[in-house]
């Protein structure tokens, strides 16, 4: 479980660029949740996730992961980083070994595991991410963008974290690559009952398709938090802070405003098609 209490973070204290990046963040994330964080660039999303594994320490406030206070001075940072794995936006920032295998093994190796255990974990995470055996001996620099991203995720997953954080895992990918990664996130969620998965995204469509819970960040504070239904039903509020709801939700909202009897929680095309068919069926039967 992740628990944040009154977390504040001031960027470059005492410098001319001083800025409050996080303002009084309070949140709780239960084991086994699949959470999306949305918000503009500069809304504090990246700063927030970096607090979860103590890459950044809060100016004030407290963060607990599974009951361990990660913000205290004597926190065991190695343990914290083993518990909370972050995959950053660009896989290019972390791939460095000669082979994919060695790169995935980097994390487990730093944990001081035995060679057999490392081997088991590398193969297991590679399989989980759909990285083919024959690719394990390739250089990570020869892979495509989508494949690189999988290797990067596998490298963090091999540390078996209890929290897996993905910073904009689909940025820059084409639709196929994006759908693949989202599928993998869903699969990881299903197969790891207790693991918390958090991903940062700019795309409302992706969030609607994938996440269970949503945290909306705006100007350094948590603007909204709840299930996908709870958050997307407040489309006015989202639009006020310059975010959007999926196009399909805008359409069904419009239809509802025009007096059609549609359910509230339509966020995907399938849901919309279902509801409209029902409505049209009603028309024909009359």
């Amino acid at each position: 479980m992740i628990k944040a209490e009154n977390v504040c973070y001031v960027y470059q204290i005492g410098m001319p660029f001083e800025r409050q990046a996080l303002k009084n963040i309070n949140l709780e994330i239960d084991d086994g949740s699949l959470v999306a964080i949305i918000g503009h660039t500069g809304s504090g999303k990246s700063t927030l996730i970096q607090h979860f594994n103590a890459l950044v320490k809060p100016t004030s406030g407290k963060i607990e992961i599974d009951g361990i206070n990660v913000t205290s001075k004597d926190a065991d940072l190695k343990l914290v980083r083993r518990k909370v794995g972050i995959v950053f936006q660009y896989p290019e920032h972390q791939l460095f070994e000669e082979t994919v295998y060695k790169d995935i093994a980097f994390g487990p190796k730093n944990m001081g595991l035995s060679d057999e255990e490392i081997d088991r974990r590398v193969r297991e995470s590679a399989k989980m991410l759909g990285i083919k055996e024959k690719h394990l001996e390739k250089s990570p620099f020869d892979l495509s963008g989508g494949q690189k991203r999988r290797v990067a995720i596998a490298g963090v997953l091999a540390m078996r974290p209890s929290v897996l954080i993905l910073d904009e895992p689909t940025a820059g990918l084409d639709p196929k690559g994006r759908d693949d990664i989202l599928e993998i996130i869903k699969k990881l969620h299903e197969k790891n009952e207790k693991m918390i998965i958090i991903f940062v995204s700019h795309s409302m469509e992706d969030v609607a398709k994938t996440a269970e819970k949503v945290i909306v960040m705006n100007e350094g504070h948590v603007e909204m938090m709840g299930t996908v239904d709870e958050v997307f039903s407040k489309s006015k509020k989202l639009q006020e802070i310059g975010l959007d709801v999926p196009q399909i939700t805008r359409l069904t909202n419009k239809l509802k405003d025009a007096g059609y009897d549609l359910p509230d929680n339509i966020y995907t095309v399938e849901e919309a098609a279902e509801a409209i068919k029902k409505l049209a069926g009603g028309v024909r039967n009359v």
């Binding site: 084409d174 795309s203 399909i248 025009a258 059609y260």
Partner: protein
């Protein structure tokens, strides 16, 4: 005007270990004509050959077979290279990797300085081009102080300063957040509309491609679809098979048609979809 006649391009790839040279056909016998003043989007997934095509318009890549003519100039004619590059300006994907100068206005001055334009005229062009992309306020900023969308707008201004007829943009929004993408798209559309600049936009975002006058869909080095966005996007099945997206409302219309609801197949926007549904449902539940 851009014209390609039976253009093919072969990539020669050499394997470092085996030294074996493999040839890959990235473009296959393409013949396209892009009219002056038009706004054309080239849509395709990664590796479809769309960027390779774009790089031919600026003589960065030269055809392995066939010809490319920019305003009648053959890109294979070495004497014309600089005329072609001045005529067809190119904006690239990564905003950080195409800026030379440490100050915005010097960046915009770079191209006309290369062309040997008189200082007075450069000054005039810099001011004019910064105004055209709404970046006048940032003339004295360093690129590192700008957002992604602002950097790309500066990159556009830097190309405009050559007074090109054609603007070729190679995935200019792939690394931007939604706000940055919107800024760049608005800028491109305005330049096309108000200054009559021919725009060729390479993208894998369907929402951007649907804003063009003409959409060309590429796959495996070939053109698979070509027409107005309405004509192209109604091929829902084909686009999905190519790993591309269609707008959610287009997909909805497609799904509804499949189950026998009589709705036009060429729906692209939310408003069109709303009107069509309103027609079909005919105020049923009111």
């Amino acid at each position: 005007m851009i014209e390609t006649c039976n253009l093919s391009f072969i990539y020669r790839k050499e394997d470092i270990d085996t030294g074996k040279v493999t040839e890959e056909l990235a473009l296959k016998d393409l013949s396209i004509k892009i009219e002056k003043g038009s706004f054309t989007a080239v849509l395709g997934h990664n590796g479809s050959g769309k960027s390779t095509l774009a790089k031919h318009f600026n003589a960065i890549l030269l055809p392995s077979g066939g010809k490319v003519y920019i305003n009648g100039m053959d890109t294979l004619d070495e004497k014309k290279v600089f005329n072609i590059r001045q005529c067809a300006g190119m904006v690239f994907q990564n905003p950080d990797n195409q800026m030379v100068a440490a100050m915005v206005e010097d960046e915009v001055a770079f191209a006309p300085e290369n062309l040997g334009v008189s200082p007075k005229e450069i000054r005039r062009r810099v001011d004019e081009c910064l105004a055209a992309v709404n970046m006048t306020k940032y003339a004295f900023c360093s690129p590192s102080q700008l957002s992604g969308g602002q950097k790309q707008r500066v990159a556009i201004a830097a190309v405009l300063a050559m007074k090109p007829d054609i603007l070729v943009l190679d995935e200019p929004t792939a690394m931007l957040d939604p706000m940055g993408r919107r800024e760049v798209m608005e800028t491109i559309k305005r330049l096309n509309r108000e200054q009559g600049i021919t725009v060729v936009l390479i993208t894998h975002y369907m929402d951007e491609a649907s804003q063009a006058d003409r959409t060309i869909v590429m796959d495996d080095g070939e053109i698979v679809l070509d027409g107005t966005p309405k004509e192209v996007f109604k091929n829902v099945e084909k686009l999905k098979a190519l790993g591309l997206d269609v707008p959610q409302v287009t997909l909805l219309a497609y799904e509804l048609r499949k189950s026998g609801i009589n709705i036009p197949e060429d729906i692209l926007t939310e408003d069109e979809c709303f009107d069509a549904l309103n027609n079909v449902l005919g105020g049923a539940s009111r």
